[in-house]
């Protein structure tokens, strides 16, 4: 829309470019505005904003709200809960889905298409379709001594299991596409030489899948860290909640101090932002992995 001037090759039309950049700068700022607004609110003490109004020039900016939110709400504890769920869930998902992918992409038994279909379709279902029986099932399974609650319900283990079951659909699909692109001669030669199937998987195929695994690991960590729904329904004790659902619980206590809530929300977002900025390339390639197969 920014230009209707016919393009001459290799000589960018200056005014059009300026217009485009102006548009992009303005839109990006508008896009960041809600987050910047939250940051601005979080940096001001409540007393000041309640006296002067929220849209006003700040007298003093400080990180007090952040330190308060961090300490008063015991955030470290909830971060810990999240790690306890996310780390095993990501590792298990990658391991199990790479196993399935290896099977369907390297050993052409008749089930492969059907199996992949089952996994992929399962991952596309809305979570609410399965939650009612799942919730009952989790209440039913007794695990005395294994989980703190004595059940699958209200335990980190329960969340890990459903994350693995649900996310392995997408990962199995992506990894099987990736593995299929590896030359068959690789594994064929090794098999003829008498290597076991496990060795084929562990020492030949898996190392070659590193780029895809890295991309999926980044995606999965962000998705699982961000999960809200499973935790809201399948965890009942506030103590056991991961950070995102704990935030929901805590906001009730701070309803009178939006600045503190803002600080808490931003603190919750920091780990995902760090992962994203450090592993940006992996993240984006993960999202589009299914798209550029082969």
């Amino acid at each position: 829309m920014s230009t209707t001037v016919p393009l001459k090759r290799r000589t960018p039309v200056r005014p059009a470019r300026v217009l485009l950049h102006t548009f992009l700068v303005v839109t990006s700022l508008a896009w960041l505005a809600p987050l910047l607004w939250a940051l601005f609110a979080a940096l001001r003490p409540y007393a000041e904003t309640s006296a002067k109004g929220y849209v006003s020039w700040p007298d003093k900016l400080s990180f007090d709200n952040f330190t308060n939110a961090f300490q008063q709400s015991d955030m470290l504890h909830y971060f810990g809960n999240t790690l306890l769920i996310a780390i095993p869930a990501v590792l298990l998902t990658l391991f199990l889905s790479s196993c399935v992918a290896f099977y369907v992409s390297r050993f052409d038994f008749r089930v492969n298409l059907f199996l992949l279909l089952v996994f992929t379709a399962g991952n596309l279902l809305p979570q609410q379709v399965i939650i009612t029986p799942l919730y009952r099932l989790y209440l039913l399974v007794d695990l005395p001594g294994i989980t703190v609650s004595g059940k699958l319900y209200d335990s980190a283990l329960g969340l890990v299991l459903i994350h693995v079951a649900f996310q392995s659909g997408f990962c199995a699909f992506v990894l099987s596409n990736y593995m299929r692109s590896l030359p068959h001669e690789l594994t064929e030669a090794a098999l003829v030489d008498g290597a076991s199937v496990w060795r084929l998987y562990w020492q030949i195929v898996l190392p070659l899948c590193k780029p895809a695994m890295a991309a999926l690991a980044t995606l999965l960590s962000i998705w699982i860290y961000n999960d809200f729904f499973w935790a809201i329904v399948l965890i009942s004790t506030g103590e056991n909640m991961p950070i995102t659902s704990a935030l929901n619980n805590l906001s009730g206590q701070y309803f009178t101090d939006p600045n503190l809530v803002a600080a808490g929300a931003l603190l919750t977002a920091i780990p995902t932002l760090i992962v994203y900025f450090v592993l940006q390339r992996q993240f984006v390639s993960g999202l589009t992995l299914g798209a550029n197969k082969g």
Binding site: L20, L191, I222, F229, A265, Y276
Partner: protein, 335 residues
């Protein structure tokens, strides 16, 4: 995917499977014969077979048990009543749950309508806007990464966090909008979240804010696959930028468009987190997902009734998922 929750999840973001199987993966003449691995099978020892069985079996059992069997259980429970205490209180009631749902539940049809509105808004506003941004950012301009990050940031952040951030914008006394337009004094409030005529649209703005960035990334990936020679040829023929886009670039984006359509429908059906954080789906923001969840974590635990709503959700989702997967996998098989 996504999930997520979000949805993502993307979550929610179960995103972009292979719809996009690029023309590059068209079958090479020898590929039929090359599918061999039959040869593999003869070489397998018993132990190898056991390993393979476990490798495929364990994940499949986990997935099928937790996802598909529970989905089937939802269907079965939808025809019963159950208070959730003990199995002997399960009673077969036939279609009663559905009858009540379709005729007497005051929240059901509004929820269906809101899910539809959710989809229509996402596909009509942020999706084309995401495409527009992708086209602009695909022009090899400077700072492209910086702009991309700005638009994509909302997709990275948890929906729950997004809910809290937008509440700071919408809050009647202290929020950004009301403070700016002077509607934050008692008597002049605009209650963005409380007013049943406004709240769905307020939430949809936040949802669109996130969706545009997601669509931008999908389209950017799609645009990378467009052969530059095509564009060059079209501009040599004297087509202007819009003509090139309309007649050359957009048609080649078809696989991406399919993925985008499916992702958007699924996101609209999965929508939950934002609404739950905003106002738990009360007055004006009912959604099917919220109705199901309220039957579990609310005071009243009506398992059969909640399952009936879940079945409605399941049927709509499968109507989208199945044709999409069939098309996708048919392409796979040919490749």
């Amino acid at each position: 995917m996504s999930s997520e929750t979000g949805t993502t999840s993307p979550e929610a973001a179960a995103a972009p499977p292979p719809g996009t199987a690029s023309p590059a993966s068209s079958p090479s003449p020898g590929s039929r014969k090359k599918r061999v691995p039959r040869g593999h099978r003869r070489l397998l020892t018993r132990r190898d077979r056991l390993t393979l069985g476990l490798m495929a079996g364990v994940p499949t059992i986990l997935h099928v048990a937790l996802v598909w069997l529970t989905a089937l259980a939802s269907i079965a429970l939808a025809f019963t009543t159950w208070d959730g205490i003990g199995f002997d209180s399960i009673k077969w009631v036939g279609l009663d749950n559905f009858k009540e749902l379709f005729t007497t539940n005051p929240q059901f049809w509004p929820a269906v309508e809101h899910n539809v509105i959710w989809f229509v808004v996402l596909i009509l506003i942020p999706t084309p806007f995401g495409l527009f941004l992708a086209v602009q950012l695909d022009k090899k301009i400077r700072f492209s990464r910086v702009y991309q990050t700005a638009f994509f940031l909302p997709v990275v952040v948890s929906m729950a966090v997004i809910g809290f951030v937008w509440q700071l914008v919408y809050n009647p006394d202290t929020g950004l909008i009301n403070s700016l337009i002077g509607a934050n004094k008692p008597g002049h409030y605009i209650d963005w979240i409380g007013d049943p005529n406004l709240n769905l649209w307020a939430i949809l703005i936040a949802a669109s804010w996130r969706h545009a960035g997601y669509m931008m990334i999908l389209y950017l990936a799609g645009l990378k696959g467009v052969d530059p020679a095509l564009r060059e040829a079209s501009s040599l023929d004297g087509a202007n930028e819009w003509q090139t886009f309309k007649n050359v670039v957009f048609p080649t984006l078809r696989p991406t468009n399919t993925v985008v359509l499916v992702v958007t429908i699924i996101e609209a059906l999965r929508a939950f987190d934002l609404v739950f954080v905003f106002n738990k789906g009360a007055q004006g923001t009912e959604l099917l997902s919220i109705l199901v969840t309220n039957n579990i974590i609310g005071e009243s635990s009506r398992i059969g009734y909640g399952s009936a709503i879940a079945v409605v959700l399941l049927v709509i989702s499968l109507a989208v998922i199945i044709p999409y997967l069939i098309a996708t996998f048919r392409k796979e098989r040919r490749a």
